[in-house]
Amino acid sequence: MDHIAAHRLDGNAAAGRLEDVFAVEITSVRATCNGCGATAAVAELTVYADAPGTVIRCPSCEAVVMRLAQVPGSTWIDLRGARTLQIPLR
């Protein structure tokens, strides 16, 4: 396993940043990759947190599903790579 792969995390590690914004339990939300169409729980997505932002990728095809960047006073979220987010309602 190379250096970058060893630093790979999963969606659990991005959940706090996402729940700064989304008022739902985010790790159980199911995301469909816009690249390959695979669906996975956010907890199952792969996360690279060493970049200036947080890059969240599809575990099936490695396409970027979400990107987060925090700057003073705001969070930017790029969801181009997520075709859908399925959010369980209780």
Partner: protein
């Protein structure tokens, strides 16, 4: 899905350190007083440190105590080149305050109502969320079968050793520890890295349909998860949490 009663956006809160204890040569147990409401075993929190120039760093830590316990405990492994852990292990003292947000997560969670059997597989400080599950299992009087396979480097590196020995005496609980670097004379547990052969022998078999939780360093978690799926465990029941390299 398992969730808190009311879900809201998370905000940063201040927690007071009530105890700060070195547990192993590389890991400390940090107990916090904070009003988070009830958490679920397996959930984590984010800790945020702010430097005097405003630079901030945050890391996720699993909650190592059960919701039935009085304090929210973390197990922090000191990473020599780390940005956050050396502060938490070397500088922080009882009485200090730190910023955190949580509890976070509903996927990597087990509570008594979900029943069993449950197979837990930990590498190093990845045992932290499983300490919470074991305490909760006892506090809730659960009769679910709970089995832990825990890989540590040496006997001195076993986190929460005394509690694990006590849990091992309880009905329905199995604690199976393997040492990967050195084992003392007379060691009765396993020796060697967790590999496919050890998993086939030590893990509740797929035919009994256990819920499986794997937590630890990324390479450990991915290797174990892959081997379990190859041994017939359904990918959806093998839940993973990676700590990084």
């Amino acid at each position: 899905m398992v969730g808190a009663a009311i879900q809201r956006r998370l905000t940063w809160q201040v927690a007071q350190v009530s105890a700060h204890v070195r547990d192993t040569p590389r890991c400390w147990r940090i107990s916090l007083d904070v009003e988070l409401g009830a958490w679920l075993p397996g959930q984590h929190i984010d800790v945020r440190l702010t430097a005097s120039d405003g630079y901030q760093a945050q890391r996720s830590y699993s909650i190592a105590s059960a919701p039935e316990e009085r304090t929210l405990d973390l197990v922090v492994e000191r990473l020599d080149d780390g940005e956050v852990s050396p502060y938490l292990t070397d500088e922080l003292r009882a009485g200090d305050a730190i910023e955190l947000r949580g509890p976070i997560g509903g996927y990597f969670v087990w509570q008594a109502g979900l029943g069993g059997p449950v197979q837990l597989i930990a590498g190093g400080s990845g045992v932290a969320p499983f300490l919470a599950m074991l305490e909760h299992h006892q506090a809730a009087g659960s009769d679910a079968r709970l089995s832990l396979l825990y890989s540590a480097r040496a006997e001195d590196d076993i986190i929460a050793r005394e509690r694990l020995d006590e849990h091992a005496q309880r009905a329905g609980v199995e604690i199976d520890i393997t040492l990967t670097r050195e084992a003392p004379d007379g060691w009765k547990g396993r020796i060697g890295r967790v590999d496919a052969a050890m998993l086939a022998e030590a893990v509740i078999p797929a035919s009994e349909q256990p819920q499986v939780f794997v937590c630890g360093p990324t390479a450990f978690v991915e290797g174990v998860a892959e081997a379990l799926v190859a041994q017939g465990h359904a990918p959806a029941v093998v839940k993973t949490e990676r700590f990084g390299g």
